[in-house]
Symmetry: D2
Subunit: 352 residues, 4 copies
């Protein structure tokens, strides 16, 4: 018997991606879809020509086992509450339930949090860290894309307390899909196509998600210094993560640590190109965003500067994939006892 | 029982795409893969990290039911012959067996054709035109990407003899994946990223494939005037096809004609946006290459200039998808009595 | 003594480009600049940091010798009239005064033309055709970008009556700067970056400008079949122009014809790469948009299909340069007896 | 009387840019140009159609006042020596003479340094720091592009000893022009167009240039942790520079410091957008690479995270402009007593 899934907000990039992926999930049946202006889904998603589904407004939605919410944060707060009241489990892709410090949340999102009891019961959806809790959760707070990338990059170091917790630096380079479908001068093609645009360069909201998770692993407060920038491509993000080790380490020690930490995780791959292969056509020694575009994979690579004792970890994932709609499906699989990779077993197109 | 498939030449873009798609084909088992420098496939395809397959050299290949050849034309000629001799059916993705006029082929490809008897028995693989022949074929000549796009765009007009057969014009705009993995000054990123590059602007080899197929539909010779250009994106092609009708026609008549012609074809979609929806975010009235990237779909749209009586037909497909490796899989499905869309049922990521 | 120049509408792409070019014109003094929201120009043009100019509203503008109007067509109609009344010569970059058939203009622009007597006295600003008239004009109608490209591409053929005047086909490929600074779903970076978007695919307004000028050269009506598309780059356009000769011609005859026709024209260059050089790094046999980006040059190349007797002419220019603001400066030079290339003597950056 | 200038190596991107800029320098006369395969310059630079200059081989070069060397480092070593012997002043754009520690140089460039006495007399060409020395120099070592960007970004902080000198972090995002004209799998358009490629991620050669200059300003050793990446655009680089202040600072204090430090410098602009203007179309609060593409400008912006006390400085410049060929011209102006901005007074095209 298939899991009945509803999606709220399929006209945005995140909801559209959830729809595209669930359409071919072998154990899922789409119960309903909502959007601001109900109609045929192919009207807003020209890639879905031939797909006969229609969206409805929220008051017309029926029953289902679980709902994915691809809504603005302010809207998601109450929508999640209504669905949970009806006994529907919820995977929320907004920022509504990601933080455990109410004062911080209310400052960052500039509004009172109307459902703090839900935030307290929500499980943060990095499944490499919290799989058992996610499996049992009624409400999963799907993580921010840069938060996922940075947490996966730093987790092995912090869980072993190997680095200075006050000097964790992340530069994030994001494709423009990460900014969403809303028009803005920042994303007008002529202005963006040969440009790089840093934004929210200090005190970014995702910093707090990263600090929250890494502090728990480190068992003490940490400081994450995060600066993101949009670059002129569409899908995927690269997090360049720097840390300073307490003791000298080698590249080999680090690779072993990471390989061990992620053993058994189906979607995190440690990429380490033997030096002699680095000249092969199309081959590069570090993770590439194009290699994970459209998928649920996260590729991680790393290096260490022996002279200056700095570790640099590279983490790539698709903000709509492992950083968004597809990791939501991975969480759904966990919540319903399905194989972790059900509906997610495919590789990126190359080139793309 | 699964179909055993071999692929020759998986390190190029075309072979890599065939591999990626067949990896998740439910009724296919990969028997062997070849490449110039045998080794793990992920070495050349960073998207396939986690896939444990290796390539072998041709002399190590075993048995299989069918082989896909993603080789240079000169190499494919003899490789196809060797495989057919062993009783292996062949889908050839090169230009080795596409033309029925030997003198033309030998002039265009600047070599003698060493296996003309095979060329005579090969079936040209536009399956919307030749499905029954493909089903029974031992050797399928997979069509060129622009040939597929233009043939699908013009076929309804020519089969009804509605337009001047001497004035069929095609401008092709191709992403750079169409040029292959070989390095060239034309495709160096700094030189190409803000450029448009016309190439082979008259007497292009694909013109002859198009003329061959359309002449058969028209039952008389036709002239195709084709000019391609690379534009700075990666996946997909747009064919802008102009024709001059003998009698005045309306847009509605044309849309009806096209809808009727392609009824029942799973991968050709006639895209017609109601005028009132053309302002929706992300919506456009004509087919878009990004909507078919990475898939086996061909989207077709059209219009007619009532004042000057010119028909323009837009045809988009992915040169590695419906224009290459994926249509080869569709042909494979036909050859083995599988559902036409087996292993090909997915939509393009959006945005991408 | 310097020419005093005013610019109306410097916050758009076209007005901004006029400003940038005139800032370094040795014989021009900027008298005033207008914009919808008056303020420092660097506020809207981050490239102009360090330039201390401010814009004013129209009612604050003073005297000058000539004004460049970079305004919407409807606004330009009356602004031109007001300036001409004050004795100021006008170069209008909108479509307000480009056509000589009032009924056609009013249909295409969907409004009554409030100043038709001005339209009748305006000179169409392709200076390779109309230099003496432009020199004496009070009102110059700067041509559309694709109109310029196609007129320059076809003029030698039409003026010699060498081709079928009913079968002139143009495919235009434009960078997104041609669409202007106004936000639109069509130009949202994630939607456009890997896409090609055909628009106004039949009966485009520029068709009529091209037909008007070519009919005059041909001394009989002509039909231009024009289809434009945006491709994912920013600056420049490529017009691919096809025509069918009455008599067989050779490539060499055509190159001679074009070289002779454009002798003495400082900004039209016939590009003909010797075959043996076509393999040089970065070198290509046909004109490239990147080679003229940011400049007032138009590069033209051509070929002929001997088998099918089709001529193809490639014409590249920058829609804000030779197709817009810079050709307006070239016209200004003509109007004031300056050297034709004054302030315009520079080449494109490469790569760019 | 004009300065006679020779350029060695005009077929690469750097030499081509030097040529393009010097062609319109009012006080410069081009004495000779060299390239590996002598011929007309437009053969390799399609942007220069209409320019009648030819290159010669090195043995055919005549006299001149100064030579710009756009050669590989190994070749530049001896070429500089030969020219200096002839009494020709030299501006070297390679890395041959940039470092003052011979052992470090020989390790980084993997060769013995054949002319160390020249390296000792060379002046490092960041003219905001060393103008008087450059004016008197016979040999100027033009700085690396990321070195220029990072030095200009950090100089005000280090010269005042305001930050922890051991924790200076730089992420560099470069357009692909920075990688040069040499073909490579890394820069094949299909592989790069939707990708981000980190390279030389630890112990990059430019780190040592930055440390050398900042140590001098700080009057004590510093550590620079530098990681560069190519992103899919062509011109320009963005350096994201992080530092940790000893004492709490405000954004306003920092802006004042930077404004004062760069007072009187014609090509360094401190970009600070008032918050209320940040919503204007096309406007962004931080420096943008497209605003300096093709020019000699460096735009600097900054911010500080009050909670975590991290300073972030953004520095943008064009690696072929202020980071390469154009700063070489600025240095040339200094060496010959010309106005610092002679031949360099123009702004970037927008959009581009």
């Amino acid at each position: 018997m298939k899991i009945k899934v509803g999606i709220m907000g399929v006209y945005g990039y995140m909801g559209g991606e959830a729809l595209r992926v669930l359409l071919r999930h072998p154990q899922v049946e789409l119960a309903w879809l909502t959007s601001r202006a109900p109609g045929p889904v192919s009207l807003h998603h020209p890639n879905l020509h031939g797909c006969d589904l229609h969206t409805v407004s929220e008051d017309a939605i029926g029953d289902c086992d679980v709902a994915l919410l691809a809504l603005p944060t302010a809207t998601a707060l109450s929508a999640a509450a209504r669905l949970l009241d009806r006994g529907i489990r919820v995977i929320d892709l907004s920022a509504a339930f990601r933080l455990r410090d109410r004062a911080v949340w209310e400052r960052l999102y500039a509004m009172p949090h109307s459902h703090w009891s839900l935030a307290r019961q929500a499980i943060y959806g990095v499944n490499e860290l919290h799989a058992p809790l996610i499996a049992a959760a009624d409400l999963v707070a799907n993580p921010g894309c840069f938060a996922s990338a940075a947490i996966l990059a730093f987790a092995p170091l912090l869980s072993r307390r190997l680095v200075d917790p006050e000097r964790l630096l992340v530069t994030g380079i994001s494709g423009t899909a990460g900014a969403g479908a809303e028009l803005s001068p920042l994303l007008h093609h002529p202005a963006m196509a040969n440009n790089v645009a840093a934004y929210n360069v200090v005190d970014h909201r995702h910093s707090y998600e990263i600090e929250q998770e890494l502090s728990q692993l480190h068992d003490a407060p940490v400081s994450v210094h995060f600066t993101p920038a949009y670059a002129p491509f569409v899908r995927g993000i690269l997090a360049i993560c720097s840390a300073f080790p307490h003791e000298p380490l080698t590249r080999e020690q680090l690779l072993e640590l990471y390989a061990a930490y992620y053993t058994g995780q189906p979607f995190v791959k440690i990429v380490d190109a033997p030096a002699e292969t680095a000249v092969a056509w199309q081959h590069r020694p570090y993770p590439q965003v194009s290699a994970v575009a459209g998928t649920n994979y996260c590729h991680i690579g790393l290096d260490i500067d022996q002279r200056r004792q700095r570790i640099v970890v590279f983490s790539v994932l698709d903000s709509l994939g492992k950083g968004g709609a597809q990791v939501a499906v991975e969480n759904l699989n966990l919540m319903f006892g399905l194989a972790r990779d059900s509906g997610l077993q495919y590789y990126a197109a190359q080139p793309c």
